[in-house]
Structures are given as C-alpha cells and as structure tokens.
Symmetry: C2
Subunit: 223 residues, 2 copies
Amino acid sequence: VFVFVHGGGFIMGDKRSEKGPFYRNVGDYAARQGWIGVVPTYPLAPDHPWPAGPEALRHVVDWIRRNVAQYGGDPDRIVLSGQSAGAVHVASYVAHPDYHVMPGGGVRGAVLMSGLFDTTAGEPNDNHRAYYGTDASKYAEANCMPGLLATHIPLCFTVSEFDPPAFQAEAARTVGAWGEVRGAFPEMHYLVGHNHLTPSQSLGTPVKDVEALLADFVGRVTA
Amino acid sequence: VFVFVHGGGFIMGDKRSEKGPFYRNVGDYAARQGWIGVVPTYPLAPDHPWPAGPEALRHVVDWIRRNVAQYGGDPDRIVLSGQSAGAVHVASYVAHPDYHVMPGGGVRGAVLMSGLFDTTAGEPNDNHRAYYGTDASKYAEANCMPGLLATHIPLCFTVSEFDPPAFQAEAARTVGAWGEVRGAFPEMHYLVGHNHLTPSQSLGTPVKDVEALLADFVGRVTA
C-alpha cells in the first residue's frame, strides 16, 4: 500500500487538480506497480494548525489498516510518502510516536521528498507561522529531526538539484546530523535535473528515475 | 578524456590485475562511451608519502593535456575520477591549487567515490600513517576538505550503501559541511546495493547504475 501526501506549504494543495493529472498520476503509478495507491487530502493551516498533520496521518494509517484488505491490499505493508509539506506531515508521524497507531508506527517505510524537518533551523516564513503558530515552544514540540534520527522505520529521502536553497541546506543538515548520530549515510537520493515539484510529478511520465527509485525502496522495505 | 585512479589504501593496488578485468573495465567503459580512457598507476606509500598523490595527478593531467590530442582526445575536456585512496588523490589535486597545471586546475570535473577527505577527522590508521606520516602538521596540510568546499571544479561524489562506517560517516560529514559553507546540497549519490569496491567494478557489467551516473555527469561538465 503506497500512500502519497501532497505538498502546498501547509496551507494549500490537493490530492487532485481540476485541469491536470496531479496527483492522480501517483495513484496510477502505484496501481501499475501492482500496489494499492492511497492519495489522501488533509486539513490545511491556518484553520488546522500543528499537530493536525501527524493526527491526519494517524487517521490515514488507521483507516488503511482497517479497510485496505477489502481492496486487495496488505495492511502490514504500508509505505508512506510525501512531498514538501506532505513530507513534513509524514515525517511528523514517523518522528512522533505519540501519534502512532501501534508500537513501531504500523508502516514499513517512509519516503520524504524535499521537506523541512528541523523546525528550529532558520527563520519561520508565513507558511510556517500559519501551521506552527507563533509560540516558539510549538516549534520545539513539532521538530521532526530528533525523531527521524532515532526512528527504526526505514526512510528514503530525496533532494532535488533545483530545490530552493533552504530545502537543499535542510537536506545537507539532515545528512550531516544523521552521520553524527548514526555514524552512517542515510538513504538520501540527490535527484539530478529535478526541481521541488518534479519528483512526484514525474511519476507516469517517460522520466523514470524517481519511479525506479521508489519501486526499489518499496520493494526492499516490504519484502 | 576520462581518468580513473585506483584505490588500495595508499599502499597497494594497480591499474591492472593479472587474473581479473579490473581496472581495464574502466578504460573499456570509457571507450564504449566514445571517450578516451586513461587509467594510470601512481607511486605508493610508504616509499612515496604525501604529497606524492597530488604530484602524480599533476603529472597525469599535464601529460594528458600535452599528448591526448594525438589519440583523438580533447585536452580541454578532462574529467578525473578515483575510488577510495584514488578518490583522495584526485581530491588532493582538486583541493590544492599549488599542484594545478594551470589556473582552475585544467579539468572539467572530478568524480570522488568513497573517499576520506578530511585528514583531521578520526584516528589515522596504518595506511594513513604510511602515506601522511606521523607529523600532525602534514595532516592539516594534506586535508582536502577546505579545498573541496571552496573549489569551482564540478564534483560528483558517491557513497555506497555497504561502504564501511568510516566512509559513510565521512560522506555525511562532507554533505553537512557543504550545506553549511555553500548553502546547498552537493552532488552526492547514494548507491543502493553497492559496497566499497563495486561502483568502479560495475563498469562493463549488466549493473548499469554507476555507468549511467558517470555518463550523465561527464556529459554535463564537458558539454
């Protein structure tokens, strides 16, 4: 079961666009792989601030575990993925065991594309303030980095060659911290030629690098 | 012109093995790409300590620039590559302009596979002592990290999933430092399924991921 959580700076975005294929393309890709694709929406900020993200993911995982068998899916083989703010919401679930549906999180792995996980790094922008609020203690509570560095859930990160500098710096910081804490290199894929949006948007197109990367990761963690 | 510098912990290794295809396979790969392949040897430690590595690379680059045209190669389109200690020697050349054959280094890019570039990180092992000696000031002088973080030569790093922990930690440290200094993510490729030796050894086999990665990098920097 492959779950994809869209981005949009916490305040916008949808699982579908009126005039385009996004992100139906992700569910279609999952289906072509022989998986069950799940592409949820979630409550948006500012109406739904932190911790709306990990709460939404908890409901998603809980719903899948209860219902996916009737669609032919295996509730014990769920892989979460997300892009940008969607990656942050997935990371929030992974990194905060308080929101887990069961010990260990109930998922086999998580794909985190171009996310900002360390809420204590850099200055909050308008989107961050809309979601995390203005109380600094919320930022510490919402910080995904310590939980990502500690989790036993297999993670697959991506960063794009043409990601904005803040996202590239965050990915570099994540790798550096991972090396210090775990003495190893995380599964962080540098996507040549991609920008902030194209990794998930490439699914179903002739650009197959991200398709192959996801299929490999999903195959390994659900084997 | 694609140059490959073999590894071997500074004290061993060769451009050819009596009984195997390594590293003839790298030259063959280059030729199949339509490039000129150059696979040099170099003086080994302990008989030839630091700075024998960057000196050897200076001679290699100088020789190529003077002679490669008669073999059909373009002296202005040289890409260096190396693995393990070979990556360190290539990095030494890139990072230390004192050894450059001309301003800018005279090369279009460098591929650094599974190297240890920061001589001030971690405890030296027997191989390091054989090459860098026992004088701590040599380690500071030989350190590639500051020069790599400052160079304008395009770099392509690889780290392997099954690299020993010291190499993974070094790659993570490199990415973290790059992010701090450059505010960006370096071109560091995480090679799923590979170990310390297989990236260069995969060239010419049905495992095409590193072949494709190198061809893409070389194509971009020599365009």
